[in-house]
Every structure is written in structure tokens, then in C-alpha cells.
């Protein structure tokens, strides 16, 4: 492989945004992707939208979503665990994204059916994330970016505050690359179960990894081992409740379950443990992965009845159905008496109200702990239905520290002069905890563009 100005590690949204930006800034670019072509794109392959600030309605976004609205949403989900400087860079950077992405092949559509609550804040990709990746790869090829698949980066050798050499393995042989600048956009480590086990113990074996199996975190580990400053809580991730019957890896969007606001959720002892109707689902879906991860055996069960079945999106697998609560308990593998007891107590605690699945209604419980604050209706119309839930990990938050130019910082806070990071590998700078729909892709796109431009600048200056 000849020498390139910029090496981009990882071929998802962040990597491609970086590669395209670096190329357009005049650098020669090599992008190495770990996956084969058919599975390229990292977790971006499974995405569907990104969160954008905008001061006026666009062709596909309704209303206005100001920088401060965005900031407040971020502040509320992270509970303040964010780096405000970087968060503001990300938020403000989303403003020109719609036109930049469109100019590079992205196509958008109005919010998907069933996701109308995101119509104002999130731009949806026509055909989803894989279609976006296809468009970006096409653009990258047209721009003359070299792309290699099934290429794994083994180590990025940092010496005296800069990357000197990168070892990659492709087709069974190891190559030494000497790029002038490097962008790492290789994702989190969520697909590395052994690494997850360091923090979660055996519980990690019960996690379902919603995205790419290629997110092994080898680059992240390699950088942290060399004195790059870590960022983020190693136990934090974006996780949702998924169907326990979903594939171990790569199940993507279809494994998620939207039934929770219209159900009760119990652990394997048949006990409720959290307010299922705390807030509208788009504001709560991202906490349930973690809640289930904290359950015994990392499993929980959503239980509801026939009258609620059509209120949520159809699921990948049919629910478990039964004519009685005890039969349902048996089929789900929970103690029948315990579940009957929980359902009876819940039903008795439900206060009359006017049910409205699309708003924070006044159907709530009284006198039980935890309460169900909205959409609480007695579970009494057979067939009763249940779904087994597992934590579905989207991506981990432990990452590398960066500055506003996406430049990677060493533990002594000095910049690693020619090393930049974008996407999930640095998302922990902004997301200390929690998640708000579409922010992962937003951070990837904004910091990808910055990283690409800065890497090109560094590389071209050194020429």
C-alpha cells in the first residue's frame, strides 16, 4: 500500500464523514474497514435518523429545534454528565449537516410511521442507515478515496506525541502504514464480550449486542494502553430493552420492543421494578436496557393484554400468548403465583382515567411502588401477552478524550498532534450517561467532518 496523507480507521458514518472531508480538503485518503463489504458501515448500517438543530422547518423536519432546545434535551438525559464545550460544538455543527449530507448523496424522508414524536428533531434517512452508507461509499469512491475491506488495525504506534506508524492486517499479512495523520472512527467495544465482562461479570453473557459484531474495541484498547486519555464511565452504554429471542449480534432495530409503556414489566421473580409509564417512550426507551441489565439474570418480562397489543409497533417475534396470567407466567418461566399477585395488585391500584396512547394521559396507579404514572389500565382482557426482555447494547461510552478539533488528548492533556477521533470512540466526551434518539449519528457526522478537515490540515502542512 502506497503512503497516504490521511488514514481513516472505520467505515461507518463518522469514518466516511471524516474521509470525505479530508479528501475534499485536498488530502489523499485511505479508509480501512474491518467488516467485509456486505456488512460495512459499523453500527450506522442499523441507524435510521440523526438529531439536527434547525431554525425553520425543512422539507422533512417540522417546526424549529433550536440549539438551546437541543442542549436542554442533552442536559436532561445526561444529568449534566457532559462536556459542554464539545457538546455545543456537536450541536451547532448539526445545523449545516442536512445540506452537507445531501450534497454527498444522503436522501431524507419525513419521520417514519410510528415515530411522529421525532418529526421535529430527527432527520430520517430514506431507506435507513445502510442506504446512507451506500451513498457515502459511492461518494467516497468517486472522490478517489481508497477503501479496503476486511482490514483490521492492530496498532497505532504513538511516539513523542504523534502517530508514527500503523500496523494493519489485511488478507493474512501485516502491513506497516505511515500516514501523515490518522482518524480513528472504529466504534466502541460493545461486541467484545470479554471486555464487557471486566465490568459486568457474567451478566455480560446475557447482553444482546444490537449492532455490528466488528466493534471489538481493539483500537480503543490499543490507544488507551499507550497513554491516551480515557473518557467516560466504562460501565455506561446506550442500551434499550430488546426481545430476548433476538440474535446475539446485529439484530438492529427490529429487536427492540415498544410495548413497555402499555405493559407492566416484571423481573424473573414476578416483581415490578420501575415506572413503565414515567414519560413518553422516546424519552424513556434508552433507560430500559440498563434497567434490565440490573435485573437478576439480566432478564425481565413485559406483560400486557389483548386490548393493548395494537398500540405498539409490531414485533420481530410474536408475543407469548395465554388465556390466563398463570398460564402466561408458566410459559414465560416466572412463578405463577407471584405474577398473579403482581397483576392483581397493579389492577387494583389503577385509577380511572381517560386513556390516550399518544399523550401523557391521566391513567395512573395509586398506592403501589413503583407507581405507573401514565397509560395504566387493568390487565384483564385475554389473551394475555408477554415478551421476554434482555439488555440490548447499542454502543459503549468509554472512549478517548478529544478537544474541539477532534484531536485526541494524551493523559497529560497534550494533543496527540496527528491523531483525531470521531464517532462512538469519542462519544463519551459528550454522553456521560443516557441517550437521546439520533445523537450518536449527529456526533459522528459533526466530529467526523471536523476530524477529517483537521487531519487533512495536519497532513498537508507536513508535506
Amino acid at each position: 500500500m502506497e503512503s497516504y496523507d490521511v488514514l481513516v480507521v472505520g467505515g461507518g458514518n463518522a469514518g466516511l464523514s471524516a474521509a470525505i472531508s479530508a479528501r475534499e480538503a485536498g488530502a489523499s485518503v485511505l479508509l480501512v474497514e474491518h467488516a467485509p463489504k456486505a456488512l460495512r458501515g459499523g453500527n450506522s448500517r442499523h441507524t435510521r435518523n440523526l438529531r439536527l438543530m434547525h431554525d425553520a422547518p425543512t422539507a422533512t423536519l417540522t417546526g424549529r429545534y433550536s440549539s438551546s432546545d437541543y442542549w436542554n434535551d442533552l442536559l436532561s438525559v445526561t444529568g449534566g454528565r457532559t462536556n459542554e464545550r464539545l457538546a455545543r460544538v456537536a450541536i451547532d455543527g448539526t445545523s449545516p449537516l442536512l445540506s452537507w449530507m445531501g450534497a454527498h448523496g444522503a436522501r431524507f424522508q419525513p419521520a417514519l410511521e410510528g415515530t411522529l414524536s421525532l418529526a421535529r428533531t430527527n432527520a430520517f434517512f430514506l431507506g435507513g442507515g445502510k442506504a446512507l452508507m451506500n451513498a457515502y461509499y459511492g461518494t467516497a469512491e468517486r472522490l478517489g478515496i481508497t477503501i479496503t475491506y476486511e482490514t483490521e488495525v492492530q496498532s497505532i504506534c504513538i511516539m513523542n506525541g504523534a502517530v508514527r506508524e500503523v500496523l494493519v492486517v489485511a488478507g493474512g499479512s501485516t502491513l506497516r502504514l505511515k500516514p501523515k495523520a490518522v482518524v480513528v472512527a472504529s466504534g466502541g467495544f460493545q461486541a467484545n464480550i470479554d471486555w464487557l465482562r471486566e465490568y459486568w461479570g457474567d451478566a455480560a453473557d446475557n447482553f444482546i449486542i444490537r449492532g455490528t459484531p466488528y466493534a471489538q474495541g481493539l483500537v480503543l484498547k490499543n490507544l488507551l494502553d499507550q497513554g491516551v486519555a480515557p473518557v467516560g464511565d466504562s460501565t455506561q452504554f446506550h442500551a434499550v430493552a430488546v426481545d430476548a429471542r433476538a440474535p446475539k449480534f446485529d439484530g438492529g432495530i427490529v429487536s427492540r420492543l415498544d410495548c413497555i409503556p402499555f405493559s407492566i414489566v416484571v423481573d424473573n421473580r414476578g416483581n415490578r421494578f420501575y415506572d413503565e409509564g414515567e414519560d413518553i417512550w422516546p424519552k424513556r426507551y434508552a433507560i430500559w436496557g440498563r434497567l434490565v441489565a440490573k435485573c437478576p439474570q439480566q432478564i425481565a418480562y413485559a406483560v400486557t393484554d389483548a386490548k393493548s397489543e395494537e398500540l405498539f409497533m409490531p414485533s420481530l417475534f410474536s408475543p407469548v400468548r395465554a388465556e390466563s396470567i398463570s398460564e402466561l407466567a408458566r410459559k414465560l418461566g416466572i412463578d405463577a403465583g407471584a405474577l398473579e399477585n403482581t397483576v392483581r395488585n397493579f389492577n387494583q391500584a389503577v385509577r380511572p382515567g381517560k386513556f390516550d396512547s399518544n399523550a401523557l394521559d391521566d391513567c395512573r396507579t395509586e398506592g403501589i411502588d413503583p407507581p405507573k404514572s401514565h397509560w395504566a389500565r387493568p390487565i384483564d382482557v385475554p389473551p394475555f401477552i408477554g415478551y421476554p426482555l434482555r439488555p440490548g447494547i447499542t454502543f459503549t461510552y468509554l472512549g478517548v478524550q478529544v478537544d474541539e478539533t477532534a484531536c485526541v488528548l494524551m493523559q497529560d492533556q497534550r494533543r496527540c498532534a496527528n491523531l483525531f477521533a470521531a464517532g462512538e470512540i469519542m462519544v463519551g466526551n459528550i454522553l456521560g450517561q443516557g441517550y437521546v434518539a439520533g445523537i450518536g449519528m449527529a456526533i459522528g457526522a459533526v466530529f467526523g467532518r471536523i476530524a477529517g478537515k483537521e487531519a487533512a490540515k495536519v497532513a498537508l502542512e507536513s508535506n
Binding site: 456486505a38 424522508q109 442506504a131 461509499y137 432495530i253 395494537e310 409497533m313 409490531p314
Partner: protein, 379 residues
């Protein structure tokens, strides 16, 4: 059992398609591509009739395949265009009338060739040798070769049979895919508009995926060329009937006449369209393609090619001694086309158009349903 028979086992294909469609319904990323996905989203369970409707609504642009996060090598191995194509062939057979002739679908090449040959021989048999005195392109020359009554009797019988077979097939399709939406004039017009524009072929606006994940409008344009060429040829026949029975002019008509101009433009349009479509098919990525259905596609294209080419040859050489044989050949092929219509790829247009009308009706019902809900909420 051959592989293709296993692949096309009715229950297996239907079950597989149902599973794919359930996954699509949980995903919905392709919603913006075409009418198929909004139609999926209107349902939670998928009956055999629903799947038939969806399969025939699919224009086979393959956009969903290339943007699918669950396409092979993913363990779901989702391949909607192929599953729909396999199922479409089964629905063509299911709705065919008379039912035993459904078997012809899988022997299209042989049947079409035999029919064309037999019909040509029939016309060669009934034709009278052209009189050496009269020029072979003078008025009345065609009827001198094949008597008018014979020509009309044979072609009308074949055409009538085709119309009957297609109508029963359409009736069967319509009954099987019934879903409670009432179809008014506006749904019919909307469906017709979608049919004529092929709006859903390469939905989302960038066209079809022929070879890979890149988009191209070529398939739409070539299909238009073939389809409108076919319509021009049909219009040419109607114009000729008008000339003869209203204006009292006897064919063949001069080159500058309306029937000849329409027929010539239509014939050339068909040839261009067919050539383009064959080229696209031959170089297509085979992964999302149904092997059995693509063979049937080729048969239909070849049949239409021969029909258009023999028509143009007849036009080109009608002033020569070859006219009588060319006339018999063209008439033979046309009659074979008519007889084949209910048992070849032609039926896709009938069921597609019907599915588009259903889809338009569903959209209307859904929009008015939403309006009602809103009003109720306001009240």
C-alpha cells in the same frame, strides 16, 4: 425434485415471504421507497391474499434489497424482491384460467415458440398465392392473401380468448386480495396514474438498482419505451379499423397514414425497450432475482420482439414477393401473442395495476381515517 421446484414450493415460498414481511413491518426503514411498505404497515397479520397483493404491488426495483440491514449474509437473509418474485409466479398460476393452463407458465419458451409456429403454419395454409399482376402493397393486397373474414375470425377468436382468460384472472386476483377498502373512481384514477407513470419503479425517485447499490432510471425508461410502444401498436390497429370501417379505406395503407405511422413508431419503441430491458436483465446482480420468473421475462420479451420485428419487416418488405409469407408470419405471431397473454409475463401488468388501485384505495381510507380521529380528538 429440481432446485427450482423446491424454491418455488408454494407453502415454503409463502411462509418465507410472510416472515420477511413481518421483519419489514418491525423495521420500516424502506417506508419511503414505494407503495409496498406503507401497505405492509397497514397490517399486522398477513393472509395468503395479503401476500399476493404485496407481491404484485412490488415493481421489483430492488432498492429495498440493497438498503436492507438484514440482507444476506445477515442471518435473517432477507431478500424481499426475490421472495416476492417467486411468489408472483405462484400467484400467476393460482389465478390463471382455465386452471390446467397454469402449467404453461413454466414452459413459456416452448409453448410460445410452438404456438407461433403453429399459427404461422395455419396462416400459410389458409393464404392464397398473391396475384402476380397486382402490386403486393396495393389496397386490398393483404386480404387477397388472407381473406378478410378468415383473418378477422382467427385474430378475434384469439383476442377474445385472451380477454376472457385475463378477465377471469383479474377477477380471481381481486377476490383473493379483498381487504375491505372500497374502490371509488378517484382510487381507480390514482392507481391508473401510478401504473402509467411507474412511479413506484425505483421509488424514492432515484430509480432501480440493477447491478448493485447504485441507482439508475434506465429500467423505467426502457419499460416506458416498450409499454408505450405496445400501446402505439394497439392504437395503430384501432386506427386501421377506423380507416377501414368508418372511412371505407382498404389496407395496406400508405406510409404516411396514421395506422402505419403509429405502428412504425410503436414497433421501434418496443424494439428499443426490449433491447434495453434484456441488456439490463443480462447484466443484473442475480442475488435478488427469481430464476424462474426471469426466464419467463425473457420469453415474454422475445415474443414481443418477434411480434414487433415481424410487423416492421412486413412494413419494410410489403412491396416485394416476400409479403405474403411475412404477412402469414406476422399474423401467426400476433395470434400466438394473444393466445399467450393470460399465461405469460403479460399478466404482471394486469395484477400490478389492480394492486396499485387497491393501494390507492387503502391510502385514501387511511387518510380519511386519520382525519376522523383528528376530528374526534378536537371535539
Amino acid at each position: 425434485m429440481r432446485l427450482s421446484q423446491i424454491e418455488l414450493h408454494p407453502v415454503k415460498t409463502e411462509e418465507k415471504t410472510r416472515r420477511f414481511v413481518e421483519i419489514c413491518n418491525a423495521c420500516r426503514y424502506c417506508e419511503g421507497y414505494c407503495a409496498v411498505f406503507p401497505a405492509i404497515e397497514l397490517r399486522r397479520q398477513f393472509t395468503s391474499g395479503d401476500l399476493s397483493y404485496l407481491a404484485n404491488l412490488c415493481h421489483d426495483c430492488r432498492g429495498c434489497y440493497y438498503s436492507c440491514q438484514y440482507a444476506p449474509p445477515h442471518e435473517f437473509a432477507l431478500n424481499l424482491p426475490k421472495a416476492f418474485s417467486d411468489l408472483r409466479l405462484q400467484t400467476y398460476e393460482r389465478y390463471a384460467w382455465p386452471r390446467p393452463l397454469a402449467a404453461l407458465f413454466r414452459r413459456n419458451g416452448l409453448v410460445a415458440a410452438s404456438l407461433a409456429l403453429a399459427c404461422t403454419l395455419l396462416f400459410l395454409f389458409v393464404k392464397t398465392p398473391p396475384s402476380p399482376e397486382a402490386p403486393s402493397d396495393a389496397a386490398g393486397a393483404f386480404y387477397a392473401v388472407v381473406p378478410e373474414a378468415t383473418m378477422i375470425a382467427i385474430t378475434a377468436a384469439a383476442f377474445g380468448f385472451a380477454i376472457l382468460g385475463l378477465s377471469v384472472g383479474l377477477f380471481n386476483f381481486w377476490r383473493d386480495t379483498k381487504n375491505g377498502s372500497t374502490v371509488g373512481a378517484s382510487s381507480f384514477l390514482a392507481g391508473l396514474g401510478d401504473t402509467l407513470s411507474l412511479r413506484n419503479l425505483g421509488g424514492g425517485g432515484d430509480g432501480c438498482n440493477n447491478k448493485d447499490e447504485t441507482f439508475s432510471q434506465s429500467r423505467r425508461y426502457f419499460h416506458h419505451s416498450l409499454f408505450y410502444g405496445f400501446l402505439f401498436c394497439f392504437a395503430s390497429t384501432c386506427a386501421a379499423a377506423f380507416y377501414e370501417h368508418v372511412l371505407g379505406r382498404i389496407p395496406p395503407y400508405p406510409l404516411s397514414s396514421v395506422p402505419v405511422l403509429l405502428g412504425a413508431i410503436g414497433g421501434v419503441g418496443m424494439l428499443i425497450g426490449i433491447a434495453g430491458l434484456v441488456q439490463i436483465k443480462a447484466s443484473a446482480d442475480v442475488a435478488p432475482v427469481s430464476k424462474m420468473l426471469v426466464d419467463i421475462d425473457y420469453c415474454f420479451l422475445v415474443l414481443l420482439f418477434v411480434a414487433a420485428a415481424t410487423g416492421l419487416l412486413l412494413l419494410g418488405f410489403r412491396g416485394t414477393g416476400a409479403m405474403s409469407v411475412l404477412l402469414a408470419l406476422h399474423l401467426g405471431v400476433i395470434v400466438a401473442v394473444f393466445l399467450m397473454l393470460p399465461y405469460c409475463k403479460f399478466v404482471h401488468g394486469i395484477y400490478r395495476a389492480a394492486a396499485l388501485v387497491r393501494s390507492a384505495a387503502e391510502r385514501r381510507r387511511r387518510t380519511s381515517g386519520v382525519a376522523e380521529v383528528k376530528e374526534a380528538a378536537d371535539a
